[in-house]
Structure formats: C-alpha cells, structure tokens
Amino acid sequence: METSCHSPRQYPPKPGNAYLFATCLVDQFAPEAGLDTVRLLEREGIVVHFPPDQTCCGQPAYTSGYPDEARAVARRQLDLFPEPWPVVVPSGSCAAMMRHHYPKLFADDAALLAKARELSQRVFELTEFLVHVAGFKHSDSGQPCTIALHTSCHARREMGSHETSATLLAGLAKVRVEQQARSEECCGFGGTFSIREPDISAAIVSDKVDSLCATGAERVVSADCGCLFNILGRAAKLDQIAGRKTPTLPGEHIASFLWRRTSGKQA
C-alpha cells in the first residue's frame, strides 16, 4: 500500500532525535528559516541531525518530466537517514515528494522501493510535526500584528498540513490571521511551470498578491519557500514598478515567524 493522502495519519510520540531535511531552497536562499526550524525543534528537547550530504528531494526533475534525473538525485537522499528517527521537512511540497512520490519513483526497483517506503513513513512537514509530534505549546511574546497565511497546494492537498499551520498561528494570542479570498487556490508557482508558462503563472500570482493585499495583513507567512518566493517576488516587482520604497507585502517562512513570536528574542 502506498501512503494515502486521505486516511488520517498515526503520529509517533515525541522523539529524542530527529533528522532535518532542509530542502535546497532553504539551504541556498532561506537559511534563516532552516536555522529557526532547528531552534524550534531543539526547544522541544529534540536533538536535530542535519545530514550534510543532503541536496534536493528531486521534485524539480520529477515534475518536469525527467524521471531518471529525479531518481538519480532522490536516490542519494534515501541513504541519508539510517536511524529510525523522524525526518522533518520545512516544506509541504518537498515533504509530499518524499512521502507520497518516492514510492512511485522507485516502483521498479524492489530494494530502493523498500527503502523509499520505509522513509516515507517517517517524513513529516514541519508544522505537522510541531503540532502532532512535538506538542508545540509556547506563548506569544510579540506585539499585536495581523498576518495572512498562504498554504501551498501540496501542504493542503497531499500533507494536510494547511491545518497545522493554521493551528500554530491560532495559538499566538496577539496575532490576527486575516482570511484572503480563495485561500485554497494555487499561487501559480508550480516549480518549472513558473518559467515554462510565465504568462499564466504571472496571472495567477498577481491575483494571489491582490487577495493577500486586500486583507490588509502586515505580512504573509507560509511553510513553503517556493510559494513564498513567488508571491514575495511578484509583490516586490509591483512595488518596484510603482516606485514604492517600503514593501507592500513582506513575508517570511512560518518557522521564522513562530520563532520570533515565541522565543522572546524580538517583537
């Protein structure tokens, strides 16, 4: 049986150790989000292991129609997590790739398939892990603010972790989460779709920026860097065109937002 996107998941008790699969986008473009993920997990008393050989889950090639190339990269990641610890991924999309698509990718190789299946059982999206495994309970020490939450399509429709993102934000007493129109709609990123079909992608992300801005929220948070870069990049481009110096729609990864609000470090 493949892992199902529909049946409710059984969660293990809080472990003493966990692996971090940070994703290539976080490693290269948003390392702070990775660091904040480590901080959030360590605060729960979990020792975080970052296998230094990790690169990318392979999704870019997998969804672009290059399965052999996707396999070559994904297969390297299969060997990185020998201990039976949970693998925490600060991205719904990359987590879904490892949890739901690795078994499909390695379907033709019994040994790798067994490995992929075993791994897929212990891959968790960060907010899912914080809520259901780590039992995240920390109080908000920040100033009152309003935000909007964008949940990636793979978080929502493959991991179900849109709900855990919302749960974590709802637990922050001074944060008001504004609801945008069509919150369930895609932001138009779609990996290489954004460069393969730039006009359609631009149309979708422009509408997304409009609905986020219409909420009046001070910032947008998301558990997925792909969507976040797409949305923030579009918003910044619109600011640039209009000659605005301060960003209309700033944003950050939910790990950074949660850490800032609950660590007492800053507002």
Partner: protein
C-alpha cells in the same frame, strides 16, 4: 529547425494563452463563472463522509467497467441489437462521420438537429455533415449560441461560458431575423427556443451523445437540462447516438451513483431536469419515438489509453467538468486557449490519445500540479500523476521504455535534456553541489538581475550570503 512558418505547438499554446490572459473582460467572465460553479458544487456535498462513500462507489464502478471493457462492449452490442438499436463501431473520427453520413444518405436526410454531445465535437461532426450538404443544427442553448457565432465550446458542460449576455444579445440581433436587442436572459432563451422548436419538427435525424451505456439492459442514458435532448431523441424519425467506447457500465444500478456524482460535480444540481433512458426505437402501437435508433461507438485513440494500466484511469472520466471548474490555469486562460475539443485538466490527459502527443504535449505542462482537480474529481482520476506521466512521455528518448505513446519524445530537446542532466549531476554529487552552491552564495552580488521568464513578473532570486550548511557548522561546537 523547420523552415516553415508554422509555430511549434508550445509557442502556439503560449501565444493563445497570452492573449487569453491579456483579455481582462474574458478573464473576469471565467473567474465569476468558476467561483459560481465551485460554490454550487460545495452546496451539493455538505457531508464529507457521504462524498467519500459516493466517490468510492463511483471510482469502483468505473474501474470495474474498464477492467471488463471488452466483455461489456460485446454484451452492450448484443442487448442493444436485441432491443432493435443498431450498433456501429468506428475506429476514428472519419469512420464515425462516414457511418453517420451513410445513414443520413439512406434515409435521405437534409436536416439533423443535435443534442449536446462533446464526442460529436471531437469528431468534427457538424463540419462533416455540412461538407456533405446536410444541415447540422445545435439545439442545446449554449451549443446553439456557439454555433451561431462560428465558435467552438469553451467548456464541456457550459459551452458558451466565455460569452457575456451582451455578446449573446448582439449575436442574436445579427444572426436571427427580426430580433430586438435585449439583455434579459429569459427573453434571450425564449428567442432561441422559438427558433429551435420549429427545427425539431423539421429535422430528419436527431443526434445525441450518451452519458452511460448499460450493457446488461441495452440502455442509453442521456443527462440533460433543457429537454432538447428528449426532443432530439424522440421527434425526428431517426436517432443517432454517438459515444466513446469507455462509456459503458454493466448494470442499470451502476447508473444512479454516477448520475448523482455527475450532476452534483458538474453544475451543482442534485438532479438534472431530464434523465433519458433510451432502450429501443418506436414499438408497434407507440405514438412517438424514432423509427430507427443507431449507436456509433467510437475509439478515436481511447484504446491507446486503455492499453496502459496507468493511462487507463483517464477513461474513468464521466465528463463532469469539475476539474476545469477548479483549475487555476483554466480560470485564467479559458477553454479556447487549449486548442482542443476537451480543455482543462481532462483535456490535457485525454487529448494526447486522440490527437497524438506531438500536437498536444503543451497541455500536459499547462498545470501547476496543484491537485485541485484531483481533489474534486468524482471518480478519483489521478490527474496530476497522469500529467507527470505525459510530461515524461513527451520528453522521452525515442526507443526507450519511457516512450510508449503516439508522439512520445516530441517535446524532447537537446538543450533541456542537457540542463536536466547537468542538474542531476550536480544534485546527486555532494562535492559538485557544495561547490556550485558555495559559488552561488559567494558570488551573490553577481547574481543576474535578469533571470529569464522569472523576472518578467518578479524580482530576481538572490542566494543568501551563507548557506544553511555553513550556518549550522558555525553553530555547532
């Protein structure tokens, strides 16, 4: 490179989708129509558990039908024949049209009135009839409008969804003699109905599609709202039904769950106004009904999908259109930009079998893989997995195991293959990855301002000064 000025399918698709995206009035039309249809569907499925159960049943029925397709088709033919309905088999569009034309010539038909049928669109039925000097008139209101305008349907359930009432009002004034301009939708419908009412009486042949063909009883089920389907299948002296070979189900009891999923998913209706069950031509002593009923069963590429266990799931489709109603791409570009009879996610997965991948591969890439279609598909077609499969096929090296379809490899280019090769090399070898990403971080000031298509609508992506792996190294004692 070709010397011809013909644009390749990918550029042609991009051109069409660009014009669609730039047409803000039409985009607004589609947006509000999609919002409306999504909301209507939601009201039909208030109980999540009931929906899960019904989808389980619908998926099981369709999978069962496909698993037994050859047997069920034979059984269908036997029982239809026993009921007096003549069955014809067509390999492709040309054969299907030739069969219909032969019937029309034999009964000396001059006019055909049509109920809504996407299969008739798929085979270019109207053109084939017109070329032979036979009038083929659409009687579904949306189809009638589209035909009057010389267009094609932009949606499989709501063919004229791209048109505003103002555009329809102007069209009626231009094309129908003696019509006054009105934007009153009810009045517009009355105008259309007046024209059509006469046509039903004058037609020699009524053409319809089929939603479900029941093998055990030899019954053709036709789902509709306007009553024009019933008129087409009862008033003219000959009724020709056209459908794809995948529409068969075994038992009559398989119809209600599929019917319920269809109407609730498509238009958010608990039931449609009409559900026609057609089992035979006019019987002795009956006062109405056609003297002849024909069914043309069309393959047109479906057996290519059928032959592959994964691609076979494409044929589970009951043509509700929910996938397009929920697709962020369809909502932005509308149906015509796809350039195929079936648009949206279902169009992207079914058209390659009908027209070949060489002509249709851009559609497989016209998706963000957001899974909205998968979430609403009433019979659980794994649409995104099929899109990925078609992307693989489109770029497969000819002659390899990955290339198994008509047109496989058509989208493969040396440049893109080389890029993914290099990508795989870098990301599967840690040393190379570390070197590349280290250079990207150190050289971030040199990051290009122009990053191709990305920066046309977004600011450039800039690597962080230090990678996470560097920050973590510093942090640890």
């Amino acid at each position: 490179m070709s010397q011809m000025a013909m644009p390749d399918p990918a550029s042609a698709f991009r051109q069409r989708s660009r014009s669609a995206v730039d047409d803000s009035a039409q985009r607004q039309n589609f947006r509000s129509a999609m919002d409306y249809l999504q909301a209507k569907r939601r009201t039909q499925f208030p109980d999540e558990q009931e929906l899960v159960g019904l989808r389980d049943l619908g998926e099981a029925i369709r999978r069962y039908s496909l698993a037994n397709l050859p047997r069920l088709l034979e059984q269908l033919e036997q029982n239809l024949t026993a009921n007096g309905i003549r069955v014809h088999w067509a390999e492709n569009a040309e054969e299907a049209n030739a069969i219909a034309l032969a019937i029309a010539r034999r009964v000396e038909a001059r006019r055909i009135v049509k109920g809504k049928s996407m299969v008739s669109e798929e085979i270019g039925f109207n053109h084939a009839m017109q070329a032979a000097g036979i009038e083929a008139l659409e009687s579904d209101m949306g189809e009638y409008i589209v035909q009057l305008a010389g267009e094609t349907p932009s949606h499989i359930i709501m063919p004229a969804i791209h048109k505003t009432k103002q555009a329809i009002a102007a069209l009626f004034v231009e094309k129908i003699p003696g019509v006054e301009y009105t934007e009153d939708v009810d009045a517009l419908i009355q105008i259309g109905r007046r024209v059509l009412r006469r046509k039903f009486a004058e037609a020699d042949i009524g053409l319809s599609g089929v939603n479900f063909a029941v093998a055990e009883t030899g019954t053709l089920c036709l789902v509709e709202n306007e009553g024009n389907g019933r008129m087409c299948t009862t008033v003219p002296r000959v009724h020709i039904a056209v459908t794809g070979i995948e529409k068969v189900v075994e038992k009559l009891e398989h119809v209600p769950p599929l019917f319920s999923l269809l109407t609730r998913s498509a238009t958010g209706q608990a039931v449609t106004t009409y559900l026609n069950l057609i089992s035979h031509p006019r019987q002795p002593g009956e006062k109405d009904g056609p003297e002849e009923v024909h069914l043309i069963l069309i393959d047109n590429g479906r057996s290519q999908a059928y032959a592959d266990a994964q691609l076979r799931t494409t044929l589970q489709c009951i043509r509700c259109g929910a996938c397009m109603n929920h697709c962020p791409v369809y909502a932005r570009i509308g149906g015509h930009a796809y350039g195929t009879t079936y648009p949206g996610p279902i169009g992207a997965i079914v058209s390659p079998h009908m027209l070949g991948l060489a002509a249709t591969y851009p559609l497989a890439f016209a998706s963000t893989l957001c899974h909205a279609c998968v979430e609403v598909c009433p019979v659980r077609i794994p649409i995104t997995d099929l899109l990925i499969r078609l992307r693989n096929e489109a770029q497969a090296q000819p002659g390899t195991v990955n290339a198994s379809l008509r047109g496989s490899g058509a989208a493969r280019t040396a440049l893109v293959s080389a890029i993914w090769n290099a990508w795989a090399l870098i990301y599967s070898r840690l040393g190379l990855y570390c070197l590349t990403s280290w250079f990207m971080s150190r050289g971030r000031a040199l990051s290009p301002i122009e990053q191709g298509a990305w920066t046309r609508s977004r600011t450039p992506l800039t690597p962080a000064p230090r990678r996470l792996r560097d920050l973590l190294k510093d942090r640890r004692p």
